[in-house]
């Protein structure tokens, strides 16, 4: 019997004492544990169209009115989350910037880093313009800091200028792989970095004109976009995995919820703007371009008004983010302000032409259009004219147009639906008040007297 006891004890020991498992048992076989820098950058690029394709953005610039379920266009006081940008593209890009094992097989490592820097700066610039102060210097540190402090918009702008300059100067020859937007062409990335700087500089025209002028000139001489071929455009594919947001809404979900706003149609139709046929489809009832009053709740419908254009919601429609026409509008404005030694009218005319070319595929009709007395450059009314045409040009990138509206006040005939003024910022995510309470409250306190309202004003919005 003793043998049995001993054997039992031994077997119990064998069963119980083993804490050594197969080495790989807790390694996830379902996901890769390595990623190349350019695969991460490519994924970060997939989020680019989301910067523009948003009903809320379109509402901010009053491009589109709602044909049913009127809500967003009444400017509700509601929070908008920025988490997706940090968790998605920004964390990918930060991972590239922090990586110690980038592979030169995907292109010169400096170029991978430069592209990551440019994209990161571009995302951050969009974020700070929308919300104001945001987590920046302490952000994207994962477990090292789950409660990042908010940096002031001013300090973020300063740092972004520096980052973009650094990106511009660190590039070497040689293209990178997996580049969805520029096919690895580093010249284009370089121009993009400088163009973003140019627009950022312009944004400071009211809050710090001197700095705006300096940075603007610096960016310009560093080399900006020279044609529509340089545009930062996200080309959607005719494939459900890579399709346009508006296609999924209008076609897949049957949401004919968006008509061209009366403001937009009234800006374009009287002057026979060739872009109108792309921006919208004529009203089914009349075959005419009739805009729907922005924020209208009662007399709405899908038959009587010009709806979102079928080219705009095509499955593979492009999304324009940073464009040559904007560069020209910026130069026209800078010339008008006396920042640069160029002709405002020339740049204005070129801008309109570039915009028509971008939207319609050719510059046909640009001449006639510019000949229209209402459109032809008028030096006495230059800022309004430039701004209004820029607003028409920035169609479908409502957030950017809204930033320009906040800066310039143009177009100055936008409506106040139901008596609600146009918001001047987005309210921080609700859950920041749970997840990052102290920093959130400090940021709201110093900028907006403790009220995280959509009517607070960001730093550059004087």
């Amino acid at each position: 019997m003793k043998k049995a006891y001993i054997l039992f004890l031994i077997s119990g020991f064998l069963l119980g004492s083993c804490s050594d498992f197969d080495e790989d048992i807790n390694k996830n076989p379902n996901l890769p544990n390595q990623a190349s820098g350019t695969q991460l950058i490519a994924n970060a690029q997939l989020s680019l169209p989301g910067l523009a394709s948003s009903p809320k953005g379109s509402s901010m610039a009053q491009y589109l009115a709602e044909t049913q379920y009127v809500g967003l266009t009444l400017y509700p006081q509601e929070s908008t989350s920025f988490y997706g940008y940090y968790q998605g593209p920004l964390e990918n890009l930060q991972t590239v910037l922090d990586a110690e094992d980038l592979n030169a097989a995907d292109g010169p490592i400096d170029n991978q880093l430069a592209v990551a820097k440019i994209l990161k700066a571009y995302y951050y610039w969009n974020l700070t313009d929308r919300w104001g102060d945001i987590p920046y210097s302490e952000a994207l540190q994962g477990a090292d800091n789950f409660t990042p402090a908010y940096d002031t918009q001013e300090s973020i702008y300063n740092d972004l200028f520096a980052e973009l300059k650094e990106a511009n100067s660190m590039m070497v020859s040689g293209s990178i792989t997996n580049d969805i937007v520029y096919g690895g062409d580093m010249d284009k990335w370089k121009k993009l970095a400088n163009t973003i700087r140019l627009f950022m500089a312009l944004r400071l025209s009211e809050v710090d004109p001197a700095m705006a002028k300096t940075e603007f000139s610096a960016a310009l001489s560093a080399g900006v976009f020279t044609s529509n071929d340089d545009n930062l455009v996200f080309e959607h594919l005719a494939d459900a995995n890579n399709q346009n947001y508006w296609y999924s809404q209008v076609v897949e979900r049957n949401r004919e919820w968006w008509a061209l706003s009366e403001n937009l149609v009234e800006e374009m139709k009287p002057v026979n703007d060739p872009r109108l046929a792309v921006y919208g489809d004529p009203a089914r009832e009349t075959g005419e371009y009739t805009g729907l009053k922005f924020g209208e709740e009662d007399n709405i419908g899908t038959e009587e008004f010009a709806l979102l254009g079928s080219k705009i919601f095509a499955q593979d429609a492009p999304v324009y983010l940073v464009t040559y026409a904007q560069v020209l509008f910026a130069k026209a404005e800078a010339a008008h302000r006396g920042w640069i030694e160029e002709d405002a009218e020339t740049n204005y005319n070129m801008a309109v032409e570039a915009s028509i070319e971008q939207w319609t595929g050719s510059s046909d009709g640009a001449g006639d259009f510019l000949a229209n007395p209402k459109i032809a450059f008028d030096a006495g009314n230059a800022l309004e004219q430039i701004s209004n045409q820029r607003w028409v040009h920035l169609y479908m990138f409502g957030y950017e147009a809204w930033s320009e509206w906040r800066r310039t006040g143009y177009p100055n005939d936008l409506v106040e639906p139901n008596g609600n003024e146009i918001p001047t910022r987005l309210s921080y995510p609700d859950n920041e008040a749970f997840n990052n309470e102290a920093n959130y409250e400090a940021a709201v306190g110093r900028q907006f007297n403790g009220d995280d309202s959509i009517y607070g004003k960001v730093w550059w919005d004087e």
Partner: protein
């Protein structure tokens, strides 16, 4: 694997120790001492072995034993008797009734049988007959109200075996994901759930146990009771013991059980019947001047349903007999009710059980067929189980339990946007459901009710693609979701009685299933046609070795257990979904995907290796002390830090042994302390990248939103428990009281962090959540006469939880959130508060008076979605079961109840928002309908304080703007309901045919019963039409909002049970 072989080899080796001794036959008759009647079914066992037999119908037995053996005679309700054989060949025994019934044996952790009186912790047993009172489809739901401290949140019967969620002693994990371990005959089985928070509710997998097979369910509530399960037992254990055959030559029993019930949908949300579909109270007109119903509007803010002849949606279909015709615009008050059908549930079971001197067997087969109340829904289930034991040689027994279950179902979708559940949310009161029923015209065109408006030039509708909603019948018949599961679980074990004191056993246990889920979106509906198919396979193995030593020394008793266990799990799935549409109608296959289909192949492997020991000491049958320790090594923990120890200690004293106070039949006090733990899923300790969308030929990878943690440790719970068991008046009255406190530390949670950190959540060890409360079970037989017996069991539990701490710098944990129309609600836990606060937008209120603040348009102002409405958890839950027996009749009724707890109701909210709820047509204090124009005295009266001026305001506002845009959309304070209820869950009225009748038939027993499942909600605090007892939403572990709940199902029927 090496260890498994060791274990088996060891057991085979023990066969060699088969001890032999001189044998002789002993026979005799067993009678009842008090009346001399013979007693069948008495166990006659050779002491110290498991060799034995059972007395036959006439109380006779015969057994071969050694001349110096001792026979133990035992039978439930009688005191055990021992008789030394001493060479006798005939031993007759008179059994003495055990009036006190104290020697109740219960199955405890790892299947170890213990005298209940010796336990120092709380367990509560439910008889199989009670569990299976009315053939509840998901047997775990039958625990509702039956065990103090067990909270069951169910789901509608329309899902046919939908999710039943069990929480023992409150919520013990900050993530709310605590689920008890379910163990059937010693085999842990998976209780996974494949449902999401909306769509089809496939139910939790624990329901694969055939209710007819259950002999008893024992709930090990606290870590002390479940300590021997170590890392898997932190949240309690539900031990299910199935019925077995009995030893005895003639004891072959055949039992037939059939039940048939009709299932009705009931308890609908009330609706208004004054205003129909549309968004304004006047009709739009066609070019010819005919008014038409706004078919593009999925709300009921339209014109009055006064019989005006109008073009309704059907009249726009050229195929329709009413094409082009005007028909009266009238309400269809029961249109939603009309959608549901009367279903049925037919259940047939047969069992054969018996045994002979060295074998026992029980074979059972069950077939369930349900046609649900939702059109085109069904569940077919088959259970086959075999349990058998065989004494290979003396002292060596092999036993096996094998259970096979097959499920095949088509279930309805739940949720505010799904199936037919949307009807309560987005619908027109004027729609005739009977017309919608024929959802397909002869030419194949589908009939939908929600279309684009007719052309203002031709007056025709040419595009019949539905706008936002499908005809509900289209959803039911075309957009189907089907699930099938094959499952096998059970064990093979060997038990060897080495000496009378020492027993060693080994077992191999397995649970494996294959779950298939398939769903379709047809051409002709709102969604892109789609097909998805998933195949999920899970295999769990447990290899177990156990040695038990029992010995009585004079006044001491010793019970020692030593064992080891290897748990191994392999889970894999393949899931595929078409993208971008299907290539041809009716061809549902991944091959039909227009674009690159979404596919996932997944593999998960995990092992836990454990060793454990337990010692129990008794003194004078009065004082007991238990101690146990378990070591667990989990492969999911970091490699160099994966071994942890979980100890427990408990003690009890039977103080009734120390007093002669007559009324007290039994009294025990007990106390325990234990640690238990829980680990995490595999692959959470090392970083990995996510696979992103492929753009053209560019592959993308991304950094996942959750941050894994290489330093994770298992969570630990420390639990303290003290209790008192007392029985009075010869057990006519019993009280079982337990106080407990459980501190769950270092929880492994995916803590939501500021997204600005780059991650949405991080896997961390954090927090301390503490639960304390008490459980009371009262049992009684208030009336007991020869003909009449009244048995009552009352359970109540009250639990208070507190999230004592979260992580450093973090004082809120977001368990979940739900966003509708850009308005988000949260379930958060705050440091220093009870678990699970509902958080959302509330009214802005004047600080001084508490009055609602109104804006310049007199509409109520609302806060950010940060208002804390308090905990979702109930204050107390319990149940009350009564059984009455009068002669051959028996009546059993089960009531369960809950006090407190709360939830948001999206069904109610959206019903108001879309103008379907009666509140939107109420008469205001000016005597006018609130929908009437303000200038005619209509409007909703609002009172409050102007936010601008600070002056009190009393005003009337437009009803549609008020309900639709403000209150029904943004102010969740209005949609918060108390979850208290008292529910009559089950009733059974049975009749046992008397011996006189049965003697003339070839039956041993016949019972006929009328049964009712879920017959009535006796009282509830929430509004009619929302069932607070069934707000379970799929796999979501805490139920905190109701959204498109399926209707309550009431079942009435008959049950027939025949024993041969």
């Amino acid at each position: 694997m090496r260890n498994k072989i060791t274990c088996i080899a060891l057991l085979l080796f023990f066969q060699a120790f088969n001890m032999m001794a001189q044998q002789g036959e002993v026979s005799g008759t067993v009678t009842v001492a008090s009346d001399g009647m013979t007693l069948p079914g008495v166990n006659v066992v050779v002491k110290g072995t498991n060799q034995g037999t059972v007395t036959d119908m006439n109380g006779n037995y015969a057994i071969n034993v050694a001349a110096d053996a001792t026979l133990v005679f035992s039978s439930l309700g009688f005191e055990d008797q021992e008789q030394a054989v001493n060479g006798r060949s005939e031993i007759n025994v008179a059994m003495v009734e055990d009036l006190e019934g104290l020697d109740e044996v219960v199955v405890t952790a790892l299947g170890i049988s213990r005298d209940k009186k010796s336990l120092g912790y709380a367990t509560q047993e439910v008889d199989g007959e009670d569990i299976n009172l009315t053939n509840e489809q998901n047997v775990l739901g039958s625990l509702a109200g039956r065990v103090a401290g067990v909270q069951v949140t169910g789901s509608s019967g329309a899902s046919m075996g939908g999710t039943q969620k069990i929480k023992i002693r409150g919520v013990n994990s900050i993530s709310g994901g605590d689920q008890p371990l379910i163990v059937v005959d010693g085999t842990p089985i998976s209780n996974a759930n494949f449902s999401g928070s909306d769509g089809a509710d496939y139910g939790n997998l624990g329901q694969d146990v055939n209710p007819n097979d259950i002999a008893s369910v024992n709930v090990l509530k606290g870590p002390a009771a479940s300590a021997l399960y170590g890392i898997r037992g932190q949240y309690g254990v539900i031990m299910i013991t199935t019925k077995k055959g009995k030893k005895g030559v003639k004891d072959v029993q055949v039992q037939l059980n059939s039940s048939f019930t009709l299932e009705h949908a009931a308890d609908f949300l009330p609706k208004q019947n004054l205003y129909g579909g549309g968004s304004s109270q006047s009709f739009s007109t066609l070019p010819n001047g005919d008014p038409y119903v706004a078919v593009s509007v999925d709300e009921s803010w339209g014109p009055r349903m006064d019989g005006t002849p109008v073009r309704q949606v059907f009249s726009f279909y050229p195929q329709d007999p009413t094409y082009g015709q005007l028909t009266p615009f009238v309400p269809h008050p029961d249109n939603i009710e009309n959608y549901y059908e009367t279903g049925y549930n037919l259940n047939n079971g047969i069992t054969v059980s018996g045994g002979n001197e060295n074998t026992t067997y029980r074979l059972s087969l069950n077939d369930t067929r349900i046609e649900g109340v939702e059109p085109n829904s069904y569940l077919d289930r088959n259970n086959l189980s075999l349990s058998a034991s065989l004494d290979l040689v003396e002292n060596l027994t092999v036993t096996t339990n094998i259970n096979y279950a097959r499920n095949d179902a088509r279930r309805p979708g739940q949720g505010s946007e799904v199936g037919a559940a949307y009807l309560n949310q987005w619908f027109q009161r004027n729609l005739d459901m009977k017309r919608l029923k024929d959802y397909k015209y002869d030419d194949g065109t589908f009939l939908h009710w929600n279309l684009r408006n007719p052309s203002s030039t031709t007056g025709e509708i040419t595009n019949f693609d539905p706008l936002y909603w499908n005809n509900p019948y289209f959803n039911a018949y075309e957009n189907t979701s089907e699930d099938r599961r094959d499952r096998l679980f059970g064990d093979v074990s060997l038990k060897y009685q080495i000496t009378p004191e020492l027993e060693i056993s080994g077992a191999i246990r397995s649970d494996m299933y294959t779950q298939n889920i398939e769903s379709r979106q047809a051409f002709g509906g709102t969604d892109t046609p789609e097909y998805s198919v998933g195949k999920y396979q899970n295999k769990e193995w447990n290899y177990e070795l156990l040695a038990q030593y029992n010995k009585d020394f004079d006044e001491f008793s010793l019970n020692a257990t030593l064992g080891g266990n290897i748990f191994s799990r392999k889970y894999s799935y393949l899931y595929m979904e078409t993208v971008g549409g299907l290539s041809s109608p009716g061809f549902y296959n991944i091959e039909a995907s227009i674009d690159r289909p979404e596919t996932t192949s997944y593999l998960l492997e995990k092992q836990i290796r454990s060793a454990f020991a337990m010692v129990s000491l008794g003194y004078q049958d009065t004082y007991f002390l238990d101690a146990s320790i378990r070591n667990d090594n989990s492969s999911a923990l970091p490699e160099d830090n994966n071994s942890y120890y979980y100890p427990s200690v408990s003690g009890s004293m039977i103080f009734s042994e120390l007093t002669d106070w007559e009324p007290l039949s039994f009294g025990k006090i007990r106390a325990s302390y234990a640690q238990a733990g829980s680990d995490l899923s595999p692959y959470r300790t090392t970083p990995a990248f996510g696979v992103g969308t492929v753009y053209g030929s560019t592959n993308t990878l991304f950094v996942p939103n959750n941050l894994n943690n290489p330093d994770i440790e298992p969570s630990f719970s420390h639990s303290y428990e003290a209790g008192l068991d007392m029985r009075f008046f010869k057990n006519r009255l019993g009280l079982d009281f337990t106080y407990y406190m459980q501190k769950n530390k270092n929880q492994i949670i995916n803590l939501d962090v500021s997204g600005a950190s780059g991650y949405s959540s991080s896997t961390i060890n954090a927090g301390l959540i503490q639960n304390q409360g008490f459980e009371i079970t009262l049992t009684g037989q208030p009336i007991k006469t020869e003909d009449f017996l009244w048995d009552a069991v009352f359970n109540i539990n009250s639990n208070k939880s507190e999230v004592v701490e979260l992580a450093p710098g973090i004082d809120v944990y977001t368990y979940g959130s739900s966003t509708y129309s850009s308005v988000t609600t949260y379930l958060n836990s705050y440091e220093g508060e009870p678990f699970g606060s509902l958080v959302g937008q509330a009214y802005q209120r004047d600080e001084a008076t508490g009055e609602i603040l109104l804006g310049s348009d007199n509409m109520p102002l609302y806060t950010d979605a940060t208002h804390n409405f308090g905990s979702v958890l109930p204050d107390f839950t319990g149940g009350f079961q009564n059984t009455f027996r009068y002669k051959n009749f028996s009546l059993a009724a089960m009531i369960d109840f809950q006090g407190g707890g709360q939830f948001f109701s999206r069904s109610k909210q959206l019903g108001v928002r879309t103008g379907q709820d009666p509140i939107t047509v109420q008469i205001n204090d000016r005597g006018q309908n609130v929908r009437d124009p303000l200038e005619d005295g209509g409007g909703v009266k609002v009172t409050g304080i102007s936010a601008e001026t600070g002056e009190p305001v009393e005003a009337y506002v437009n009803a549609r703007s008020y309900y639709r845009n403000v209150v029904g959309r943004r102010i969740y304070e209005e949609w918060l309901y108390d979850a208290s209820y008292i529910k009559l869950r089950e009733v059974k009225l049975g009749y046992n045919f008397g011996k006189n009748l049965i003697d003339r038939l070839p039956f041993d027993a016949v019972n006929v019963a009328l049964i009712a499942r879920n017959p009535a909600m006796i009282w509830q605090k929430a509004p009619d039409g929302i069932d607070p007892s069934s707000i379970s939403t799929g796999s979501q572990s805490i139920s905190w909002y109701e959204s498109g709940q399926l209707p309550t199902v009431r079942s009435y029927g008959i049950n027939l049970n025949i024993t041969f």
